[in-house]
Subunit: 423 residues, 2 copies
């Protein structure tokens, strides 16, 4: 199907030889060894500060694991929510320092911590909280007297082409994203926080995710491509202010916060694996092994969307993922992607355009997470184009979704969301 977009055969051959040489047997392990030796810090002992201007886990370099959960508020009492947020702030700060959620009792009472990571270390844990639309309005009701503070940017996401959202993996009044360099540390955080909310919140969905590879390199997702290359640089505050941190005048309590979109995207990796590498690269618009834009050499070479081959065809195909999602074709918009792969065992079908079910094996894919100052200029228009035109859609199905307002960070002594409830 990509026939008329095939680049000259010669380029593939050349690139292939180079990749074969660089990535053959021995050198793969060798490259990893060298990268690891540059890594002086034990990832299990890293401590990320919980308090600060922004919440942790947004521009924090990605840890290797996540557990993302959405909870529904079941209480009607404003004070319950405030008290819970205070307790959560305290517990999240403790756990970020490698402590138990609350001090352990010295008697045989039911302990306020499951104890399953005692002796493990903070492992770089970050805990990020977000508020979904249901926090502000639930079945037409303003349960907590905060409907007037709902930011215009916190829109309900529209339905996108091809969406096959499952209710049990979609929505939620509150987001808790825990990231750590250890799977159990990440899950542990959500487990304790959910338990503290007993009677006030109920788990709606939870999702574990992981990344691979030596830190400091761009990790590869389950499609085998480096994922995260062309993110706006978190090292440039100006870019973060422009694209990530909220500062709209209608909701000043969100200044320094961000809007987070989560999508659970299943990938039929068995079908993808059958595709020629050249085709995979046409779909992405990037070279698989180097991560460079097609036609370029190095991962971080600039994307040249105007480049054409000798027949005048675009080097980066019209319906390739990076062309459609690049800021040049999206009115300058950028989002900060901080996604993880997920892998929940086997499940042999995916619903597609009814009545078509696609056969597959793994329930695996991407737990896509994107932060932005406003989804109306960020995720929504970008995904609208992707959902319609992206060649990748043959292999991907969005089965879960959520949108959340992640408030700014808390100062010690205050709590996450204070600005909203004390506005």
């Amino acid at each position: 199907m990509a026939n008329d977009q095939d680049p000259p055969r010669r380029r593939f051959l050349k690139a292939g030889v180079a990749a074969g040489a660089a990535l053959g047997a021995g050198s793969v392990a060798h490259a990893a060894t060298k990268a690891q030796f540059k890594q002086p810090v034990d990832p299990m002992t890293v401590v990320e500060p919980f308090f600060g201007e922004h919440q942790a886990g947004i521009v924090t370099p990605q840890q290797s694991h996540t557990y993302v959960a959405a909870l529904d508020l079941t209480t009607d009492k404003r004070d319950d929510v405030i008290n819970l947020l205070k307790q959560w702030t305290d517990a999240a700060a403790r756990m970020s320092r490698g402590e138990t959620a609350k001090p352990l009792p010295t008697d045989d009472k039911s302990a306020p911590d499951s104890g399953d990571i005692l002796g493990v270390g903070a492992a770089g844990l970050t805990v990020t909280f977000g508020f979904g639309p249901g926090m502000f309005e639930h079945e037409g009701k303003d349960r907590y007297g905060i409907a007037k503070h709902r930011p215009a940017a916190l829109v309900d996401l529209p339905r996108f082409n091809g969406d096959q959202l499952l209710p049990q993996k979609t929505g939620g009044d509150i987001l808790i994203q825990a990231c750590a360099n250890d799977a159990q540390v990440a899950f542990h955080a959500v487990r304790q926080l959910a338990r503290m909310g007993y009677g006030m919140v109920a788990m709606r969905w939870g999702q574990a995710g992981f990344l691979s590879g030596p830190r400091g390199q761009t990790p590869r997702n389950l499609m085998g491509f480096k994922d995260g290359t062309n993110n706006p640089s978190t090292a440039q505050p100006a870019l973060m202010n422009q694209f990530v941190w909220a500062d709209a005048p209608d909701a000043p309590w969100m200044n320094g916060g961000t809007y987070t979109v989560v999508r659970r995207i299943r990938i039929t990796i068995e079908h993808w694996d059958q595709m020629e590498r050249g085709f995979q690269e046409q779909v992405m618009g990037r070279e698989k092994y180097s991560g460079a834009p097609i036609g370029k050499k190095n991962e971080f070479d600039a994307l040249d969307l105007d480049a054409a081959d000798k027949d005048g065809n675009p080097v980066i195909p019209d319906n390739s993922h990076v062309r459609l999602s690049n800021q040049a074709t999206n009115k300058g918009a950028q989002i900060l992607r901080r996604s993880y792969s997920y892998n929940d065992g086997t499940d042999f079908y995916i619903e597609r355009w009814p009545p078509w079910r696609q056969e597959t094996e793994y329930d695996a894919g991407l737990i896509f997470i994107a932060h932005q100052s406003d989804p109306r200029t960020g995720f929504i228009p970008i995904n609208d184009r992707l959902a319609k035109f992206d060649m990748m859609n043959q292999f991907t199905t969005h089965v879960g979704s959520g949108v959340f307002a992640c408030p700014p960070g808390a100062r010690p002594g205050s709590y996450i969301g204070a600005g909203l409830f004390e506005a």
Copy 2:
């Protein structure tokens, strides 16, 4: 319900104070830091030998992640199976060295490796193969002319009390267990092998698992208890010969192999978390924080099943997990447990005794893996007692199951299972 088994209150108080001191805030992170400093080897660069007398991944110290899969054979041709085992042997040996499953082509052909862990390193990968009953007999047919070599020890597991096995998580003709210090490396191995079997095998179930904590310490499972303490020592070949390695005369091709039982055991961790620590310890028969047998001080202190309190009640309760599973109450039998925790998101019910459904939140628990020289003296009688009497059953439900004959290791140039097909 554990009232009449409550040990004197004083012991709890004392133990509690000690635990509080040892495990409070700062010291938790501190303990981890020290343990980590003793760890000189980067877990991402470890290489475990694939070839050898025994298969890797059985007595290998546990890596931090696993992906366990069971596949069904869909071919009727004996040569298909032999060729597949040869290809798998080669690919597994390559991947264990940190290489791609097969050499990457230098043209743009569909690559024989998904490429998603290029640059990552071997990460201690082990790949272990096993043969289920269906390999020897399928719907009454001896598809590959090997029925006569089926070991008597490879029995179909009986139904146990309380079993709620799901067909889509049970059985399988072939086991592939991949373990590594990286989630993606483990999954990558199974993914490539499954793909190589296209048209000859079909995935039946797959399950990701993880462990936590600094290496060299016994990891805690999701119930918060150290898990693996009282395993027979893999450092003692005599114990391994007695309890783990097969050597029955009816199936000499299995000598140096082992029989592996896999059970997917869901745990209602939310209910467990509500229990008093003292009750949890009565259920297990061990102290939660230290891991010591109740009444003892240190994790590796010997279990004294005869110890009684001043009222003559057993210190280690009659229906506690460790009493019921200890070799003293199982005719001397031991098994080598090598389990992982699993965490597949949310699922709000577990079927129990019909029509009773237990409410829960997480689809999380233990992917229980046990190796033994003969399941008829190992897993089966032990689990029979546990299924009937274990206090832990209130919190656990077996939802998946498999039993496999894992042949001995292969010599370079030969292949896994050669002994069976060339017997």
